[in-house]
Symmetry: C2
Subunit: 432 residues, 2 copies
């Protein structure tokens, strides 16, 4: 006999057993339904693309993380590492088939061969939603509203959406005469939650000098409420009138819709990535600030500029589904319904196989989920199996199969001599 192969997984990759997979599907389904309620439409793109397409926007950091290889036809190909770059390519390719503004969502796996030290996975699910083809406060606000509504739909009411505007920050940097070091400054400020204020200040002083750093630190410090924060931003970056107006419009819409208490104007939010040009946001679970932002994004002024001359402004965001689900587990906001079978038809006579399946099939027509034990083993063994699978009710077929006993496996009580129709009602009563 050949030597066994060890059934191991690659580091950073994992299996989903039924309970976890059900929970993931439950969350994805709620999110999909919520996005559709806002008129967002689902799309999908290939996991493999030409490397040239995927690395268009990537920096050096991405290059190292990407799964890249030559395929059978000697093409330089790679697995997608996010859903934004493929979406940009998608828009360039299908621009004339899609009505603009186009609102899409995409929930799918992405791959990054990054360090797994910090509990990160190399295969994980992202959930992106974007509005492309409109540069308006209405589109900006709709993404914010949908973020809030998505978390509520999942059962997380207490979130804070921190938002700011890259244009205002850029205006401040220009005023300070350090626009050339803008990206460094933004990346440093973006690390605030990770490295703390003292370290940010020290790094900024090296980049921008002490005087500019004082102003930047004043700018990124929040006031007691959104109005005073906005006022402070306005006084430090008075040239950014249009961008400040946009922020003010979004905050006003939040008030009108009644979600202002969950919106935090926070000038320290910059999002390191250089393609954001307008509003930027991050979302925190109030009960779990330590897991960081579970939903981040912003406005970009030219999504598909690498692939088409058509200018496509847009705004969008990405939910890190794995981190969110881990958070939900910690908050015990996981689903109660299991999606598992509600009853199991037990087996005591092989000659009755067809009848067992006929009874199960009839029970299913009432909407019940019904398992059938496939072999005639001792009843105790079959009960133990049902218990392991969390199935609350057993159906024991009587005599020639015209009647059945319905057994509540939790209370261990029997209801005998039922027709299949009565059995269905008895099971419904026990399981709802």
């Amino acid at each position: 006999m050949a030597e066994l192969i060890e059934p191991r997984l690659l580091k950073g990759f994992r299996d989903f057993l039924p309970a976890d997979e059900r929970e993931r599907q439950r969350i994805e389904e709620i999110l999909g339904r919520t996005f559709a309620a806002f008129g967002f439409e689902p799309i999908d793109t290939p996991i493999l693309e030409y490397t040239e397409i995927l690395l268009g926007k990537g920096g050096g950091e991405t290059d190292k993380q990407i799964y890249r290889f030559e395929d059978q036809g000697d093409r330089d190909v790679a697995m997608r590492y996010d859903l934004t770059v493929p979406f940009a390519r998608f828009m360039a390719l299908h621009l004339h088939e899609l009505p603009l503004p186009f609102k899409r969502f995409h929930i799918a796996k992405v791959f990054r061969g990054e360090n797994t030290q910090r509990g990160r996975y190399r295969e994980f699910v992202q959930c992106d939603f974007d509005i492309v083809g409109s540069d308006s406060a209405s589109a900006d606000f709709e993404i914010v509203l949908l973020m809030d509504r998505s978390f509520r739909a999942i059962g997380v009411d207490d979130v804070r959406i921190h938002l700011s505007h890259r244009g205002v920050f850029n205006s401040l940097l220009a005023r300070l005469g350090i626009a050339d070091r803008g990206e460094q400054v933004l990346r440093t400020v973006d690390k605030m939650r990770k490295i703390g204020e003292t370290e940010v200040r020290s790094q900024l002083e090296k980049i921008a000098g002490a005087a500019a750093t004082d102003t930047i630190m004043a700018y990124i410090t929040r006031g007691p409420d959104n109005e005073s924060t906005l006022e402070s931003m306005r006084s430090l970056a008075p040239d950014a009138a249009q961008d400040l107006r946009r922020l003010s419009d979004v905050l006003q819409a939040a008030k009108t819709v009644g979600i202002a208490d969950r919106i935090v104007l926070d000038p320290s939010v910059t999002r390191g990535l250089d393609y954001y040009t307008g509003i930027v946001f991050e979302t925190f679970l109030t009960a779990l600030p330590e897991i960081g932002s579970v939903c981040s994004g912003g406005r970009y002024n030219n999504l598909a500029g690498l692939y088409t001359k058509e200018r496509l402004p847009g705004v969008g965001t990405s939910i890190g589904l794995d981190r969110l689900i881990a958070g939900l587990e910690e908050l015990s906001v996981t689903g109660t319904q299991t999606g598992g079978a509600e009853a199991i038809v037990l087996c005591s006579d092989d000659a009755m196989t067809g009848r067992y399946h006929a009874i199960a099939d009839e029970l299913r027509t009432t909407g019940l989920r019904v398992d059938v034990y496939p072999e005639c083993r001792k009843l105790g063994q079959q009960y133990a199996f049902a218990e392991k699978k969390d199935i609350p009710v057993a159906v024991i077929v009587e005599g020639a199969g015209e009647t059945v006993t319905v057994r509540d496996l939790r209370s261990r009580t029997n209801d005998e001599g039922l027709t299949v129709g009565d059995a269905a009602r008895a099971i419904q009563a026990l399981t709802t």
Copy 2:
């Protein structure tokens, strides 16, 4: 300005635009619900695995098709080319966490770098369901029943499930003294639909000689009904009593459950793959025989033998979802509901942005899917947009935003002066 990158796709890969993606999700959701109704549980596995794991069962043909490369850690890795091999590895790894018999389904993408000439894709979705840990007629039959119920749930009533038993065929080959050429014979018979009877006979004669070929051709020829076919198999392979009994039990169960008219005992079904050991089946859409089997599978006696000494008998099948969906389109059995927005709130004053979103949000609480046009353009342009997105109703906010007009975009009639609550009822009436 940098040169543009051509936004192209790899050959054999495709995007899913909203209409196609919605249809795929609709079918996957129906299938998932049907599997769950039978007590099958969802799982997922990684797309990337160690090559050693994935090529364990593959032959030379698979080697050439697999996407294989070295990752950043110099590991020899590959993208899964089916869902069976990863499932075998999954069972070996998690054997002691799972109650047996284990019934799982898995709907996910797989990758094969094969020739795309015949309209095949290199990235496609498979849908597998298996019962592992039981060798019984009940398990065999449950897979057959679930195949039938899955197709009915999708709206395809007229399918024929062709089934046979590899053990009976093997018994015949042993009796003919050509067991050593069994695999060649099975693979040749498996090509019947592709190359026709004359060519099969000619190839068989070269493999097995004229006399044996006559017997094989007699064996694989169906009688006028399942009973006579079974009788013919019994007379030609009398040593296979146990396997014939299994076939007979499955056919009997099909009669009891009332699906016998869709089951065809067909000894020409062999499934070329050598790991099948018992019942084997293929499924054809009566209206579209030319697309071939849309759901094939069978019984194997040792799923995970490459990875564990634990013997795991099982039975299962795989739906080729892309081929099936193409078939459904041809049969016009595609979904009628689009999942798109049912109404769109139009924009005529930027200062009202918050109010537009508040109205949309209130309408959504009644279960409606409601879009918001994000910019204040000419009404005609907004109507044209709604038409392109197949949105049947427009909501035009009146005056200060306390009342609205509901416009039926198909009949071009208005219902004016409605409260938001009345508007919700009006839209429901227009869209259901």
